[in-house]
């Protein structure tokens, strides 16, 4: 229910940078449904554990469209929506490295 992960890659810069740590949990979703702007961590068959912003949640299927902030982000624009069952949780604590 609780995961500590380290951010790798630059698709969420400047909000999340390589080397930042995040604490992730599903618990917040028991109290409030996922909505655009949430930062979630999920499993992807090709890219494994990924972190992205929620862009849109399909009301009927629950499929989630995710996006990064960087123009070169690999996200739902390239691999489509993700299933709710793939979601590990929402970022509940962001521990940043010191910004320059």
């Amino acid at each position: 229910m609780l995961y500590l992960l380290k951010v790798a890659g630059s698709s969420l810069e400047p909000d999340f940078e390589e080397g930042d740590f995040v604490l992730v949990s599903k618990i917040p979703f028991f109290f409030r449904p996922m909505r655009p702007g949430d930062v979630i961590v999920f499993n992807h068959v090709l890219y494994h554990t990924m972190i992205k912003y929620v862009e849109h949640v399909e009301p009927e299927s629950g499929e989630i469209f995710v996006a990064g902030t960087h123009p070169g982000s690999v996200d739902s624009r390239s691999f489509g929506p993700i299933r709710p069952s793939a979601v590990l949780g929402k970022v509940i604590w962001h521990i940043c490295k010191k910004r320059v």
């Binding site: 992960l5 630059s10 521990i95 940043c96 320059v100």
Partner: protein, 166 residues
């Protein structure tokens, strides 16, 4: 404090990664955008100085123009940092750092100067930023075996800029 603690734990046991996957990889890297952004910072400072010197009594029009120029200065100083960070993080490899030991210090300097240009209105700082980005561009093209030349930009503020000789 928490970050330091987690970094130590990471070094000891290895914390699992969450990929903010970005590179396709497209392999398209070019410092030109950072250079143009650095020139834009200088240009905005010049426009701000001209406007302020010409305006004895600030008007609504003045406030509007100066606000827009500040916003563009902010945006482009940050763009310099972002473009250099992408090349630093995605393109430059250990072999480049070994060959150009000045690189880490140079990139750090660009980050600091970018912030300084956002915070203040010093043209000198903006010129220092352009100089550092130009040096970064020279090294970048050298890593690709491409010679460079320094020329005056053919548009205002007309400062010197590094171009690859293609």
């Amino acid at each position: 404090m928490f970050y330091e603690l987690l970094s130590r734990i990471d070094r000891l046991v290895g914390i699992r990664g969450a990929s903010a996957h970005c590179d396709i990889p497209c392999g398209i890297y070019d410092p030109h955008q950072a250079q143009v952004a650095a020139l834009t910072v200088i240009r905005m400072l010049d426009l701000m100085a001209d406007l302020t010197n010409a305006q004895k009594t600030p008007t609504l029009e003045y406030h509007n123009s100066i606000s827009r120029q500040i916003a563009v200065k902010e945006e482009h100083a940050e763009l310099v940092k972002r473009e250099v960070r992408v090349i630093w993080g995605d393109y430059l490899k250990q072999e480049h750092l070994d060959k150009y030991p000045e690189l880490p210090g140079l990139v750090h300097k660009i980050m600091q100067l970018g912030s300084k240009c956002r915070q203040g209105v010093s043209r000198e700082s903006a010129m220092d930023l352009l100089a550092a980005v130009n040096r970064f561009a020279e090294i970048f093209w050298e890593t690709k075996g491409i010679a460079t030349k320094r020329v005056k930009a053919p548009y205002k503020p007309g400062e010197e800029i590094v171009y690859p000789v293609l």
